[in-house]
């Protein structure tokens, strides 16, 4: 497994604001990664650093083993489809696809043609007149047909349900047939999470999670019941969230329950429910009171 991205203590400051705060991680070739986090957590900044559109304030970043800045060897292997991409004036959708063939060395025009039919792209319309959803679809078609060894989608999910489903399907199909590294950055987690192999979560510029998606699915659970009963369960565990409705209390706790504990819960009349990735992230991100919980993940 070769490492295609390696970041060490990567930092980016904009004046007083620290957008990326000393993060270290590595991405391996051929996996589908999710870069998750709330809006403003630093995801797009990180991606712009990866593609040398922005300059780091500190730390190191290697892509395909080299610095990406002004590096054709590296840049020619990256396709970065950003959110709200603006195209040169007067370009039509057809122009976008035609130009993409020149910009991306591994462009597959036939595949692009198939995809643009699938996503119903209006080839003759000016790009500036497109709706957000159609613009996203254009980005997806370009991103997939580029077949770039490192393909990055920044917030690609501004589509309707049918188009989203089509995206997941096409992405998987092409990934299986042409394995490459794909990075999907989004704040909408649950639908896309089943496609991800590894998940990185940014919160206020810090990398708080860097794990297998599967491992995260059993990271926490919620126990609901009367306050006193729940209390017996929460003893000795880290609580990362909680709610109260009348006399009912629910607590979200880190860890797992084994069979014995399940029996215990059932006996006490407590309800145990799993915690989705989305909920896990909500609990772990951006409130100071949750920082402690985050540190024990």
């Amino acid at each position: 497994m070769s490492t295609i991205v390696e970041a060490e203590c990567l930092t980016k400051r904009f004046g007083d604001l620290t957008a990326i705060d000393s993060i270290s991680f590595s991405l391996e070739a051929g996996k589908i990664y999710g870069l998750l986090g709330r809006n403003g957590s630093g995801k797009t900044t990180l991606l712009r650093l990866l593609t040398a559109q922005l300059f780091a304030t500190g730390g190191t970043l290697l892509v395909f083993g080299e610095q990406p800045y002004e590096n054709r060897r590296v840049l020619s292997q990256i396709c970065f489809m950003k959110e709200n991409q603006t195209y040169p004036k007067r370009w039509r959708v057809g122009d976008v696809l035609a130009m993409a063939a020149s910009f991306f060395p591994r462009w597959d025009a036939d595949y692009a043609s198939v995809l643009s039919k699938d996503f119903q792209l209006p080839l003759t319309r000016k790009v500036r007149t497109l709706s957000r959803g159609t613009l996203s679809a254009v980005g997806i078609v370009v991103g997939l047909a580029s077949r770039a060894p490192l393909t990055i989608f920044d917030e690609p999910l501004g589509l309707d349900v049918v188009a989203r489903s089509l995206f997941y399907e096409r992405l998987l199909d092409d990934y299986v047939e042409h394995p490459r590294t794909i990075l999907v950055s989004t704040h909408l987690i649950d639908e896309v999470s089943r496609l991800l192999e590894q998940v990185l979560v940014l919160d206020q510029g810090r990398l708080i999670i860097d794990e297998e998606a599967e491992a995260l699915r059993s990271r926490a659970f919620t126990v609901t019941g009367s306050a006193s009963q729940v209390a017996t369960f929460t003893a000795g565990r880290t609580q990362i969230g909680g709610e109260q409705f009348g006399s009912l209390v629910s607590a979200t706790l880190l860890g797992n329950v084994d069979a014995g504990e399940r029996r215990q819960a059932a006996a006490l009349g407590l309800e145990l429910t799993p915690v989705s990735l989305q909920q896990l992230m909500i609990h772990l991100t951006s409130t100071a009171s949750h920082r402690k919980a985050r540190e024990s993940v």
């Binding site: 059993s218 429910t273 989705s276």
Partner: protein, 123 residues
């Protein structure tokens, strides 16, 4: 078939469970080939690595084995092994739960036994 995957539980476990179900129900015979991880991935719209993890789980348990160049196959005797595993769980999953519910509803032990016997007579 996507909606059959519960995203809140580890998916690879669910893949393994499905294969187990298929073996127990006879949909997958011993020595029969199991669908490839890519096929699972496409069917459930999940990452192929996750599907592979589920398959490997069963390989580790001896339920499946790999034939080089051909794929994954159901091991001989796996059905019996799975049945045994389920039998062990039966007590926990069904009997204990049943008794707990009975207690909650105020049904006496003898009544429960009567019900079981009555149920056994129904074809």
């Amino acid at each position: 078939m996507e909606y059959l995957i519960d995203e809140n539980r580890p998916i690879f476990v669910q893949i393994a469970e499905r294969i187990e179900e298929d073996i127990l129900a006879g949909r997958l015979a011993e020595e029969e080939q199991v669908p490839s991880t890519n096929q699972f991935a496409a069917l459930y719209q999940i990452n192929p690595a996750t599907a592979a993890k589920g398959v490997n789980l069963l390989v580790d348990q001896g339920i499946l084995y790999k034939k080089r160049g051909l794929g994954m196959f159901v091991a001989t005797g796996s059905r019996e092994r799975l049945m045994e595993k389920r039998r062990e769980l039966f007590f926990e999953q069904y009997v204990v739960a049943m008794l707990r519910e009975a207690t909650r509803l105020g049904i006496e032990e003898e009544q429960v036994i009567e019900m079981i016997q009555k149920g056994a007579k129904v074809p």
